[in-house]
């Protein structure tokens, strides 16, 4: 069965994209979960839909529009909550709905062909193209190099921003750089897992890993591994069952999380006895 499927370019592309989204979201998600920024990530994801609509309206690549909207909204949220005395959850709510609204308006105003919104809302792993895969390779390389080089700085700032500031570390520079990288991770992941499901790649593998470890780099490595195994499993399952791949992957991820949670519960109650 496996050799059958790998004959098709669309399927090998999908496998490659699964690997890349696992690396991207495994690393980025660990930072997001540790810093409790999951809903900021959700806000960035939905705000980028406005950019997708704008892309169609202007006749440019929707990914480009999405990247512009995502990076702008990520940095605006960071800036607004720090300097503008804006409450974080309110800022997220505003950008979240504004992005979706402008996206729908732009797509409605675009003359002629109406793009399939479902692709962007739920993703389409099987139609990922070579250009997107190349972009994901480049971003993965940047993200991995950034985290390897600056791991200690990132960890120090993420754990205790005030203390890092007292030590004269470049707190703002690191935060804005990370937010920008995360916005780009989200945009490239949207093509694979869709706006609605991208948050699962950023949170479910990390939460599963977090059950067994509370060390930042262990969670990072395990999240990439869990994400890769579950997305490949989901990919094959979706082919056999003839159902959408993105949604299948999420269901597999959640089943693994519940299974891991039960395992931990059983092993803990076993040791207590």
């Amino acid at each position: 069965m496996i050799t059958d499927l790998t004959q098709y370019t669309f399927f090998t592309n999908a496998m490659e994209a699964s690997l890349l989204i696992s690396i991207l979201c495994g690393i980025a998600g660990t930072w997001i979960v540790a810093r409790r920024l999951v809903f900021i990530a959700g806000g960035i994801t939905h705000a980028s839909f406005g950019g997708i609509g704008l892309g169609y309206y202007l006749g440019i690549n929707p990914l480009l529009g999405a990247a512009a909207f995502a990076v702008a909204s990520a940095n605006l949220m960071l800036f607004g909550t720090r300097k503008g005395n804006l409450r974080e959850d309110s800022a997220i709510g505003i950008l979240w709905s504004f992005g979706m609204a402008t996206g729908i308006l732009f797509i409605f105003l675009t003359p002629g062909y109406a793009p399939n919104l479902m692709t962007y809302l739920f993703g389409s792993l099987l139609t990922v193209g070579t250009m997107e895969i190349n972009l994901m390779w480049i971003l993965s390389a940047i993200l991995v190099v950034f985290f390897v080089l600056f791991y200690r700085v990132i960890l120090t700032i993420a754990f205790d921003e005030n203390h890092a500031r007292a030590m004269r570390l470049p707190v703002e520079l690191v935060n804005y750089t990370l937010m920008t990288l995360i916005a780009l991770v989200i945009v490239l992941s949207i093509r694979v897992s869709g706006i609605i499901l991208v948050i699962s790649f950023l949170t479910i593998p990390q939460s599963t890993a977090n059950l067994f470890s509370r060390s930042f780099n262990h969670i990072m490595f395990s999240s990439v591994a869990i994400s890769l195994v579950t997305s490949l499993t989901g990919l094959y399952l979706s082919y056999w069952l003839n159902v959408p791949s993105g949604a299948t992957i999420i269901v597999v991820m959640v089943i693994v999380f519940i299974f891991a949670r039960l395992m931990k519960w059983i092993s803990l109650s076993h040791f207590r006895r």
């Binding site: 200690r152 700085v153 890092a164 007292a166």
Partner: protein, 255 residues
């Protein structure tokens, strides 16, 4: 006595500071010399923590001057132990990593730690009795154990000035006595400035007292009386002196 001119670690002149345009501290003058041990007392909301934040450089002065001496290396050789409640217990980080992070201020940003740093972290953990916990997540520790971790973190960069904000809060009584002994030893190598509610206990270690209540009154000895405090409008419950450290409890209301 040495005839070499002794440079202060830190000099604050006519400084005012606060948040969002609201002045919390005004007319602050303070000079910190090497081997000082300054106890900072004063009522809640009087600006004690604000003073510490100004010294660490977390908030800029609104007016006035604050100059670091050469020994402080532009504030990089300050060890800071913030008040207890400011960390996320669920953050995925190990004890050893928290302690190492205290050395970041003086290191290059890429691959900052070498064997010497790890050795220093190991020594600090041994000193504070944390060795067996080094690979535990910070969230597993009790309040007192976590406070030891943050003390080690503050000491990682070999500070010339150690700043402590209510270090004895949430600490078990056993460690409290131990903590003051450790501070007494550390004071031979570094200046210490410590905010405390409980000056009575530590009077034998503190050398001078600063009373912060909007402004700052510096008392160049730890000999201080209730009358003196009243003049400084500095309400504090009790201060005593003795040849041995001792604790005086409130009188019983019922006979």
């Amino acid at each position: 006595m040495s005839l070499k001119p002794v440079l202060p670690l830190l000099k604050i002149e006519n400084l005012a500071a606060g948040y969002n345009g609201r002045i919390v501290l005004h007319d602050i003058n303070l000079t910190i010399m090497a081997n000082d041990f300054i106890g900072v007392i004063g009522p809640n909301g009087g600006g004690k923590t604000t003073l510490l934040k100004v010294i660490t450089g977390l908030i800029p002065p609104m007016t006035g001057l604050m100059n670091y001496g050469p020994l402080l290396d532009n504030g990089r050789r300050i060890g800071y132990l913030p008040q207890m409640h400011q960390y996320d217990r669920n953050f995925p980080i190990l004890v050893l990593d928290v302690i190492l992070s205290g050395g970041m201020g003086q290191r290059k940003l890429i691959n900052p730690f070498n064997r010497t740093d790890r050795k220093r972290a190991t020594e600090l953990m041994a000193m504070t009795g944390l060795s067996h916990l080094q690979n535990h997540p910070i969230g597993d520790l009790s309040g007192g154990q976590a406070q030891r971790v943050f003390l080690c973190r503050a000491l990682m960069n070999d500070p010339a000035l150690l700043i402590l904000d209510e270090p004895a809060n949430f600490v078990d009584a056993g460690f409290e006595a131990e903590l003051y002994d450790i501070l007494h030893d550390l004071n031979k190598k570094m200046a210490i400035i410590m905010v405390t509610h409980d000056l009575g206990i530590i009077t034998p270690y503190v050398k001078t007292i600063a009373c912060v209540n909007g402004d700052l009154h510096y008392h160049p000895s730890s000999e201080i009386t209730q009358d003196l405090l009243a003049t400084y409008s500095c309400p504090i419950e009790l201060i005593t002196h003795g040849t041995v450290p001792h604790r005086v409890l409130k009188t019983h209301t019922e006979p």
